[in-house]
């Protein structure tokens, strides 16, 4: 039995029926991580000892005849920007290489309460800035479908780990596409929830008004299951939304007949690769076959999403990352004769190129005399972009587009040209600016590489996205493939 290809809901049944024990499952998971790691390199930190101890507790519970929760005993991993009490949290940065938080992020608390078992912390672009995980200060993660290609980013480690069977599910964070794009490149399900649906407490901030945590899973049911565990209002996060959160999993399986699905024409333009377009068009046909009503729509301010994003996100980042000054924790340059030099050297040595680039961009955008022209203007355009979606959702239940203009690219292809790299995210940025939810599922393959399909919904309409994706998955079986790593 290849446990590492199984979904959480399947493993839950095996545990409940005592066909496997949690200890066996965790041990098998650890072995799979070690077997795949030389090729994938998804993990910065492993927590196997703690995981085994947790598994023993779950087994004791099962042996005592107690009921276990839907995620209890399920091995998982976290992007290394979510704080874990007593476990190093690095953001794949030299500046936090030794940082051990004395507290758990709210999502970690929730997953612990749900009984999920942490196997380790996943690689990422430094401080979540990047689209390929090549910006990790430690090492690059490889795409399990082709290890010469990037897994996407910034949550590349989390996406690759799920695709490679190194975790049943993982959490990532999405600021401009950092869950959906790697999910697309690695052929897994990735959800970017509504801003405010999942607590950001304990998520090391990149851009506070855009960041959102979400799950990577091997199928839609698992995604709904993890969303059930992590979504909800949190007193510790003032931007968290005090609304009613549905049981996402219970809502799966309903007919999507008559659902209006809009195709924003700006997302099917020139920049989209023909191989991607072909797979997406086929997928649209499938949905049509399921009774969905397909129509074209327009999001006219889409072309401004990239510049707006690259003003707002770096501006917030420049402030959020200012605390890494070497005074209290993390890396400190030892060669400084005075305070200001210590600040400068610590930050110059501690941050990588991309992070420094964005800090400079953001500092500039907020500078006196430029604030109105850049930051304030960007916020106004952001409102227009949000307005585009509001209008589109008057006519459509869900919008559909490619997740990324291309399939996974090769290492080094875009590292010399930041702008080219930024363009990887043109289909995903607007969603963060508008604060709405979006989901990536695997639509099919082009030349053996996964092609991602993005579903976008109204704020707090995650359930709808999951329902439509579930119907597609059931109709196509697109979630059943696992990359062959030869291990």
């Amino acid at each position: 039995m290849k446990l590492y290809t199984k979904k959480a809901h399947e493993l839950h049944d095996l545990l409940v029926n005592k066909e496997i024990s949690a200890a066996e499952l965790v041990r098998a998971q650890a072995e799979r991580i070690e077997a795949a790691e030389p090729k994938v390199q998804a993990f910065i930190t492993r927590t196997f000892d703690d995981a085994m101890a947790q598994a023993a507790k779950v087994d004791a519970k099962i042996a005592a005849g107690e009921a276990i929760g839907p995620l209890e005993g399920i091995p998982m991993a976290l992007k290394d920007n979510m704080c874990t009490d007593g476990v190093r949290t690095t953001c794949a940065s030299k500046i936090l290489h030794n940082f051990v938080p004395p507290y758990d992020a709210t999502v970690v608390t929730k997953l612990k309460e749900a009984g999920a078992i942490l196997m380790g912390k996943c690689n990422m672009d430094e401080f979540a800035m990047g689209s390929s995980t090549e910006n990790s200060r430690f090492f690059a993660t490889r795409n399990p479908w082709d290890i010469e290609r990037v897994p996407g980013g910034s949550s590349g480690g989390s996406a690759a780990a799920v695709a490679a069977g190194q975790a049943v599910f993982t959490l990532g964070s999405d600021t401009g596409g950092s869950i959906r794009q790697p999910a697309a490149f690695c052929g897994v399900v990735g959800m970017k929830p509504t801003y405010g649906a999942v607590s950001r407490f304990g998520l090391v901030a990149f851009a506070s008004s855009l960041d959102q945590i979400g799950p990577f899973t091997r199928d839609v049911r698992d995604n709904a299951r993890v969303m059930n565990a992590i979504a909800g209002y949190d007193l510790k996060d003032s931007t968290s939304a005090p609304v009613d959160y549905p049981d996402y999993e219970a809502l799966l399986g309903q007919s999507v007949k008559g659902w209006r699905v809009g195709l924003p024409k700006e997302y099917f333009g020139e920049g989209i690769g023909p191989e991607v377009k072909a797979v997406i068009e086929k997928a649209v046909k499938v949905l049509e076959g399921l009774g969905a009503e397909i129509g074209e729509c327009s999001l006219p301010h889409t072309e401004y999403a990239l510049p707006v994003y690259y003003l707002i996100a770096p501006a917030e980042a420049s402030s959020n990352l200012a605390r890494y000054d070497g005074v209290r924790y993390g890396y400190r340059s030892e060669e400084a004769p005075d305070l200001n030099t210590m600040f400068k050297k610590t930050r110059a040595e501690g941050f990588g190129e991309e992070v420094k680039r964005r800090i400079m961009l953001g500092t500039y955008a907020l500078s006196s005399g430029y604030y109105d022209a850049y930051y304030l203007k960007a916020q106004k355009v952001r409102t227009l972009i949000k307005g585009d979606f509001d209008q589109a959702f008057e006519k459509f239940d869900v919008l559909l587009s490619p997740t990324s203009p291309t399939v996974a690219f090769k290492f080094g292809d875009r590292t010399d040209n930041p702008l080219q790299m930024y363009l990887s995210d043109i289909c995903t940025l607007s969603v963060n600016l508008a604060g709405i939810p979006a989901l990536n599922i695997n639509a099919g393959f082009a030349n053996g590489l996964p092609v991602g399909l993005q579903l976008m919904g109204k704020a707090f309409d995650e359930a709808k996205l999951l329902q439509l994706a579930y119907a597609y998955e059931q109709a196509t079986g697109c979630h059943s493939q696992t990359p062959d790593l030869g291990v």
Binding site: C83, A205, S238
Partner: protein, 509 residues
């Protein structure tokens, strides 16, 4: 031009223009964005948590009590409360600022457009309040081997104070003299004490004052270039710093020089202001809306709820004391200058049975006399002893009830005024009631005519030469004889009786 202005014009060749920025620590239980205590002191870095330490990933949650207090202060300063306000980040690097930004309010403060009335030399004046906004305090650095960071061998950071809530109260540039500046700060402190939003202890840094100072020729409309003064940690420091700065600027202007726009620091030890940074070197704080907090929306009901908690303000209370008890305006002004002192007075009046509902004059002269007695004792002896001790009116060792106990003994003639003073000092030192001390030490006044008459006769017999002096018309001799009688009774003899009996006996001789 008023007489006053003309007078000032003769005194000084420039018109002074000032505005004050006052930072006040709010006396809430917990910090502004976390649950840590705001208590002063404590071992270094014991009143901290991941949130106020700004560790990666933490988020602020606004303490509603801070909003209540800021609103209360705003209302007491006659401000308009903003229905919609927000928080912003003020970005700068310093080791006492763990997030490298201070959460403050930039363009939409919680309160604005208020005023405060002061009085200088009997002349009333209204000073505009531009705004009141909320922000968080920074930590404290302790330097090794030097007074400042520059030159220190090492520096240690204590974050206990980080995240303690502050309000900043910014005045309009309406202040025209150093006396007005001091009066403004005194009145502001008094109002804030009344609202009980802060303990206003300048020596503990819970009230800090910066000043914008400029000069202009009399009659000129435009403001001169201003200097911003920092680090004035007492009323005396404010006064001295302003005196120094005004003279410094005047000298430059007299010599035809130009004032530089800069931030200057008051150096208490050197007694001068020192340039900290010029306008060109001023920080670019890169303010932007704090994305981790949602905008603050304040309903009418919320404002009304806070308004209902406002106490009687000092000027109203002063009028009440003048009207109800007939206290001189000056005395009433001093008593109501501090809420604790005014509360003490009210409690004492109650204990003496002379309290009266607001707006009602006390019935008789005796009641007024009692109130006056209380007021006199407070403004004299009690204030003197409190100032020399670590106590204040809120925790005075002599309670209002015990003070009244003493006044009752005086009123009944049980002790003399002179003895009362000694008893009061004993009361202050021991905290005991007057009666206990008087009984313990046997200080009851001797009012027995027979007993005093016998003492008087003894003294006259023992001092024939003094008696002769008196008979020869030397009035001074009388004083000596009274003194002898008091000495013989250890001050317990009723002085009125002594006088009367001495005269009687002398006439007989």
């Amino acid at each position: 031009m008023s007489n006053e202005t003309m007078q000032m014009e003769r005194d000084f060749d420039f018109e002074i223009v000032m505005g004050l920025e006052v930072h006040v620590e709010l006396h809430t239980k917990s910090k502004i964005f976390c649950g840590c205590t705001t208590e002063f002191g404590g071992d270094q870095n014991t009143h901290v948590c991941p949130v106020c330490l700004g560790l990666p990933g933490v988020l602020p949650v606004l303490n509603k009590q801070v909003v209540d207090y800021a609103m209360k202060a705003g209302l007491a300063l006659n401000c308009e409360i903003a229905e919609f306000s927000k928080f912003d980040r003020k970005n700068y690097f310093y080791p006492d600022l763990p997030k490298a930004y201070q959460v403050s309010q930039y363009d939409l403060p919680i309160a604005k457009d208020g005023y405060l009335d002061i009085e200088v030399g009997g002349n009333p004046k209204r000073i505009g309040i531009t705004r009141v906004h909320m922000e968080e305090d920074a930590g404290k650095l302790v330097h090794g081997g030097a007074a400042n960071l520059a030159g220190a061998e090492y520096s240690l950071a204590d974050y206990n104070r980080t995240g303690v809530p502050l309000i900043e109260i910014v005045s309009e540039p309406d202040i025209r003299s150093i006396e007005e500046a001091v009066a403004y700060l005194e009145r502001l402190k008094s109002i804030l004490e009344y609202t009980e939003v802060s303990d206003c202890k300048m020596e503990q840094g819970s009230l800090r004052c910066d000043a914008n100072v400029s000069l202009r020729p009399w009659g000129q409309k435009e403001f001169g270039t201003k200097a911003e003064l920092k680090n004035m940690n007492s009323f005396k420091a404010l006064q001295r710093a302003l005196e120094y700065e005004v003279e410094r600027q005047a000298e430059i202007l007299r010599e035809g020089g130009k004032i530089l726009q800069e931030t200057r620091m008051w150096d208490e030890a050197k007694g001068m202001t020192i340039s900290l940074r010029s306008k060109e070197e001023a920080h670019d704080y890169r303010y932007f809306p704090e994305p981790d907090l949602v905008p603050l929306v304040i309903s009418r009901e919320w404002v009304d709820r806070v308004k209902a908690t406002l106490p009687e303000m000092p000027h109203i209370r002063k009028e009440r004391l003048v009207h109800s008890y007939g206290l001189p305006a000056y005395d009433a002004g001093i008593i109501t200058g501090s809420k604790a002192m005014a509360d003490y007075f009210d409690s004492a009046c109650k204990a003496f049975g002379v309290d009266t509902p607001a707006g009602v004059e006390v019935a008789d002269d005796k009641a007024k006399e009692r109130a006056k007695q209380i007021s006199n004792y407070m403004m004299g002896e009690l204030t003197r002893l409190l100032n020399a001790s670590e106590f204040g009116y809120s925790n005075s060792p002599v309670t209002p009830e015990n003070l009244v106990g003493l006044l009752q003994l005086l009123e009944a003639g049980t002790i003399s005024t002179k003895i009362a003073k000694t008893v009061f000092e004993d009361m202050f030192a021991s905290g005991k009631p007057a009666k206990a001390i008087v009984e313990e030490k046997g200080l009851v006044q001797i009012s027995d005519e027979g007993a005093i008459a016998s003492i008087v006769r003894d003294i006259l017999t023992a001092n024939p030469s003094v008696v002769a002096d008196f008979k020869a018309g030397k009035e001074k001799a009388m004083g000596f004889l009274v003194g002898q009688a008091m000495k013989a009774t250890k001050g317990k003899a009723n002085p009125g009786l002594v006088n009367k009996l001495l005269k009687e006996e002398l006439e007989k001789m």
